[in-house]
C-alpha cells in the first residue's frame, strides 16, 4: 500500500469512527435531559431510571468521542502537515471556539454525572442541558471547519501564497450553514433511530417493558421529527453543492454530460469509460429542477471538468444513492409513526411498527457514513477545493501503512468493547435500574 493511500484510509477510518461516537455523544444528552425533565416534573421513577441509563451511555460515548477527537487533532498534522501549515491559521477560528465549547461540555458532564443528590435538582438538570448545547455547538463548529475545505474563503491565494487571511470570513464560508444544518439533523436522525431501535427490540423481547417504552417514545419522537426535516436540509445542500462544487454534484448523480432538462438518476451502475449509467431509473428534468429550480435549467456534467480534477464517480454515486435511499426509508417509518400517534392508536400496540424501528436501527448511521463519504470523496482530488491537492498535502514520512494498520486495529477493538458495554448496559437494565431500589448505581 502506498503512503498516500494509507494516509487517506487512516483519515477516513478515524473520521468514520469518530463521527458515529461524536453524533451519539452530541444527541443523547438531549434525550437524557428530556427524560430528566419528566422525572423532575412527574416524579415517576421510570423516568429517573431512563435518565440514569442514558447518562451511562453518554459517559461511554463522550469518552470514546473525546479520545478519537483528540487523535484527529493530531492526525491532521501527522498525516497532512502541508495542508495544516497553510490551512491552520485560516480555518483555525472554528477550532479554537470548538475547544471552548468542548471544554464546557466536559465540565458540564462532570457536574452532571457526579451531581446526583449533590446539586440542586434543577441546577443539576441544567448542566445536562448545557452538555447537549455545547456538544451541538462543537459539532457545528467542526463542520464549519470542514465546510471551509469545500468552500475556501477568508484569504487570497496569490502565487502559491496565502495572503490577507481573515479567520472570521473563513469560518462563515458559503458552505458552513448548509453543511452544519445537514450534519446536525443527520446526527439527530441516526441517533434517534438507533436508540429507538434498541429499545424497540427490548420491548419486543418483553423485558422491562415500562422502562423501554418510555425510552422508545422519547427517542422515536426525536427520530421522526428530524427524519422529516432532513429532506429539506438535503435540498438546501444539493442546491448549494450544485452552485459551488459542480464536479461533486456530477459525481453524486453520475451525471456525465452537461445538459438542460437533466434527469434525476436513481440507482444504476456508472460506467466511466462509456460515460453512461446502466440499469438506472431516470426522472426527466428533475435534477435540473432540484438544482436550479427550473426543469429546463442547465446542469454541468463531468465533461465540463478537466479529467485530472474529477472525483471518483462510482464511490460518490453509490454513497449518495445509499444515503438518499436510507433517508427516504426513514422518512417512511417516521410518517407511519406520526400516523400511529395521531389517528391509529392501535398501531402503537402492534409489533410490526416496533419491528420496523428495529430494522431501522443501523440505517441512520449507514446513511451518515455514506453522506460523509459523498462530502469527502466528492471533494477529491482537492483537499482545499480548487487550491491544494490532497496528494500535495501528505506527510513525507514513509511507512504510513503500518500506522494505518495500527489505528485500524485500535478502532476495531474499541468498537467491539463499546458494543459489548452497551449490550451489558441494556441487558442489565432490570438489575441496575430497578425502580424499587432508591440508590441505583450512578
Amino acid at each position: 500500500m502506498d503512503d498516500f493511500l494509507a494516509a487517506r484510509l487512516q483519515m477516513a477510518f478515524s473520521l468514520g469512527f469518530h463521527i458515529v461516537f461524536a453524533c451519539i455523544g452530541m444527541v443523547m444528552p438531549f434525550f437524557m435531559s428530556l427524560a430528566h425533565f419528566y422525572w423532575l416534573k412527574t416524579k415517576k421513577t421510570v423516568y429517573r431510571d431512563v435518565t440514569k441509563a442514558w447518562s451511562a451511555g453518554v459517559a461511554i460515548f463522550f469518552a470514546t468521542g473525546a479520545v478519537s477527537g483528540t487523535v484527529l487533532s493530531f492526525e491532521l498534522g501527522l498525516l497532512w502537515p502541508k495542508f495544516m501549515e497553510h490551512a491552520g491559521p485560516i480555518f483555525g477560528m472554528p477550532f479554537s471556539l470548538e475547544g471552548t465549547a468542548f471544554f464546557i461540555e466536559a465540565i458540564a458532564l462532570g457536574f452532571y454525572l457526579y451531581g446526583w443528590n449533590r446539586l440542586h435538582p434543577w441546577f443539576h438538570w441544567a448542566t445536562g442541558v448545557v452538555v447537549g448545547i455545547s456538544g451541538l455547538l462543537s459539532g457545528i463548529l467542526v463542520v464549519a471547519a470542514n465546510a471551509w475545505m469545500n468552500s475556501p474563503a477568508g484569504f487570497d491565494y496569490i502565487d502559491g501564497q496565502y495572503l490577507n487571511i481573515d479567520p472570521v470570513k473563513a469560518m462563515f464560508n458559503d458552505a458552513w450553514f448548509s453543511q452544519a444544518l445537514h450534519m446536525t439533523v443527520a446526527a439527530f436522525v441516526s441517533t434517534g433511530f438507533a436508540v429507538a431501535g434498541v429499545h424497540a427490540l427490548m420491548i419486543l423481547k418483553g423485558k422491562n417493558v415500562a422502562f423501554h417504552s418510555m425510552a422508545f417514545r422519547i427517542a422515536a419522537i426525536f427520530a421522526t421529527v428530524f427524519a422529516c426535516l432532513q429532506p429539506l436540509s438535503g435540498d438546501i445542500s444539493a442546491k448549494d453543492v450544485a452552485k459551488r462544487q459542480p464536479a461533486k454534484l456530477a459525481a453524486m448523480e453520475a451525471h456525465f454530460h452537461t445538459e438542460r432538462n437533466a434527469p434525476l438518476i436513481i440507482g444504476g451502475i456508472p460506467d466511466t469509460a462509456r460515460k453512461t449509467v446502466d440499469y438506472a431509473i431516470r426522472i426527466p428534468g428533475l435534477l435540473s429542477f432540484m438544482t436550479t429550480g427550473d426543469f429546463n435549467g442547465e446542469v454541468k456534467g463531468l465533461d465540463s471538468i478537466p479529467k485530472e480534477d474529477q472525483p471518483p464517480v462510482a464511490v460518490t454515486h453509490y454513497a449518495f444513492q445509499i444515503m438518499v435511499g436510507l433517508g427516504m426509508a426513514m422518512v417512511g417509518i417516521a410518517f407511519l409513526y406520526f400516523l400511529a400517534l395521531w389517528k391509529k392508536k392501535s398501531w402503537l400496540r402492534s409489533n410490526w411498527l416496533l419491528k420496523l424501528f428495529v430494522l431501522a436501527t443501523p440505517m441512520g448511521f449507514i446513511a451518515l457514513e455514506a453522506g460523509w463519504t459523498v462530502t469527502e470523496v466528492g471533494r477529491q482530488p482537492w483537499i482545499i477545493h480548487g487550491v491544494m491537492r490532497t496528494a500535495d498535502a501528505v506527510t513525507p514520512m514513509p511507512g504510513i501503512a503500518y500506522s494505518f494498520y495500527l489505528f485500524t486495529a485500535v478502532y476495531i477493538s474499541l468498537a467491539v468493547i463499546v458494543s459489548l458495554l452497551l449490550y451489558r448496559q441494556i441487558t442489565m437494565v432490570g438489575k441496575l435500574y430497578n425502580s424499587s431500589s432508591e440508590v441505583p448505581k450512578s
Binding site: P89, T100, F102, A106, F111, R118, I165, T395
Partner: protein, 339 residues
C-alpha cells in the same frame, strides 16, 4: 496579542502537566502499589478525579489548537519529525481515556475488569513518558530537516538518552503529583500515613530522575546546565523550587493537604518555567541551528488577533465553571468525611 496567545499556550501546557499529570499519576501509583493496598488506592483516586477527569484532558486540546492555528510551522515540523512518539502518546491517550470510563461504567463487574485495569495502568505510564520525550526532543537539537534516511529523520530525532531521561522524569512527576493529591483525599489516619510514606519515597525518586536528566544531557552534549543556571530568572526558579521542597518535607507529616498541593504545584510550575525560560522565544531547536521561534514563526497578525480574542472569551466561560466544579466536589468530599 501574541503574548496573550503565548501565555495561554504555556498555561495550557502547565495545566495539562498539573491536572492531567495528577491524573496519569493515579494510574502509575496503581501500578506500583502492593496488592493489598490496590483496591483502596484505586477507590480513593476514582472518587477524587472522576468529576474533573474529562476536563483535565482538555488542556492538551487547547495547546494543540493554539499550536496549529497560531504557529502552524512549529506544529507541522513536530508532526513530521516526531511522528512516532506522537503516535505512542496518542495510543496511550486512547487506551487510557476509554479504559477509565469502561471500567467505571461497565454494568457488570467480572473478568472484563481484569482487561481494563492493565490497559489503564500501563497507558497511564506510557502517555507521560512519550509526552516527556516529545518535549525534550523539541529542544535537544536532533530534529534534522535535511536528513535523507528514515532513521536519522524520524527515529534519531527523538530516540536519545536525553529525551528518554526526560520521559522518565515526566512519569515520576506525575506520580509525585498524584501522591500529594491523594493525601488530601484520604479519610483515615492509617491511609494518610501510608501515602505520606509513599510521598517521601517518590520525592527521592523524582530527584533521582532529575539527576538522570542532567547526566543524560551531559552525555548528549546538551547545554542544560547552562540553560537552567545560566540566567537569573531560571536560577531563582530552581532555588525557589528547592526551598519549597524542603518546606514540603516538614509539612508532609502535618494535616495540611491544601498547603501540600500548592507546594507541589509550585514546584512543577518552577521546573517548567526554568526549562522553558532560557530558550524563549525559541521552541524547536533544530540540528542545523535554525531554530523555530514563537515570535518569528507565528501566523499572520489577523489570525493571532482572532485567536487571542477567542481564547480570552473562552476563558471567561471555562475558568469560573472549572473552578466551581473542582470546588463543589472537593467540598462535598470533605462533608462525607465527617460522617
Amino acid at each position: 496579542m501574541i503574548y496573550v496567545v503565548i501565555i495561554f499556550l504555556w498555561t495550557a501546557i502547565l495545566l495539562y502537566i498539573l491536572l492531567g499529570g495528577a491524573d496519569f499519576g493515579a494510574g502509575i501509583i496503581e501500578l506500583f502499589t502492593s496488592e493489598k493496598n490496590k483496591e483502596k488506592t484505586r477507590k480513593t483516586m476514582y472518587k477524587a478525579i472522576g468529576p474533573i477527569w474529562e476536563a483535565n484532558h482538555m488542556w492538551l486540546i487547547i495547546a494543540v489548537v493554539i499550536l496549529f492555528v497560531g504557529f502552524p510551522k512549529i506544529y507541522t515540523t513536530v508532526s513530521i519529525y516526531l511522528h512516532i512518539p506522537l503516535v505512542g502518546m496518542l495510543l496511550g491517550i486512547i487506551a487510557r481515556g476509554t479504559a477509565f470510563v469502561f471500567r467505571n461504567y461497565d454494568a457488570v463487574e467480572d473478568d472484563m475488569q481484569k482487561v481494563y485495569t492493565p490497559i489503564f495502568v500501563y497507558s497511564s505510564l506510557i502517555t507521560p513518558f512519550f509526552l516527556g520525550i516529545i518535549a525534550a526532543s523539541a529542544v535537544s537539537g536532533r530534529i534534522d530537516p535535511h536528513a535523507n534516511d528514515f532513521l536519522s529523520a524520524y527515529v534519531f530525532s527523538w530516540l536519545n538518552w536525553f529525551s528518554v531521561a526526560v520521559g522518565i522524569f515526566t512519569v515520576s512527576i506525575c506520580a509525585f503529583l498524584a501522591t500529594i493529591f491523594i493525601i488530601g483525599q484520604t479519610t483515615e489516619e492509617n491511609d494518610r500515613n501510608h501515602f505520606i510514606r509513599k510521598a517521601r519515597r517518590i520525592i527521592f525518586i523524582v530527584m533521582f530522575c532529575g539527576a538522570l536528566v542532567f547526566l543524560a544531557a551531559y552525555f548528549e552534549q546538551i547545554p542544560l546546565i547552562h540553560w537552567i543556571f545560566g540566567d537569573t530568572p531560571g536560577l531563582i526558579a530552581i532555588i525557589a523550587a528547592s526551598i519549597s521542597l524542603v518546606v514540603m518535607f516538614f509539612v508532609l507529616g502535618q494535616n495540611k493537604p491544601i498547603m501540600l498541593r500548592l507546594l507541589a504545584g509550585f514546584q512543577v510550575t518552577m521546573i517548567l518555567f526554568a526549562a522553558t525560560y532560557s530558550h524563549f522565544p525559541d521552541i524547536l531547536l533544530l540540528k542545523d541551528g535554525a531554530n523555530l521561534s514563537l515570535l518569528t514563526h507565528q501566523g499572520q497578525a489577523k489570525t493571532i488577533e482572532t485567536l487571542g480574542y477567542a481564547l480570552l472569551i473562552g476563558s471567561i466561560f471555562i475558568l469560573p465553571a472549572l473552578v466551581y466544579l473542582i470546588y463543589i466536589f472537593q467540598k462535598k468530599t470533605n462533608v462525607e468525611t465527617d460522617h
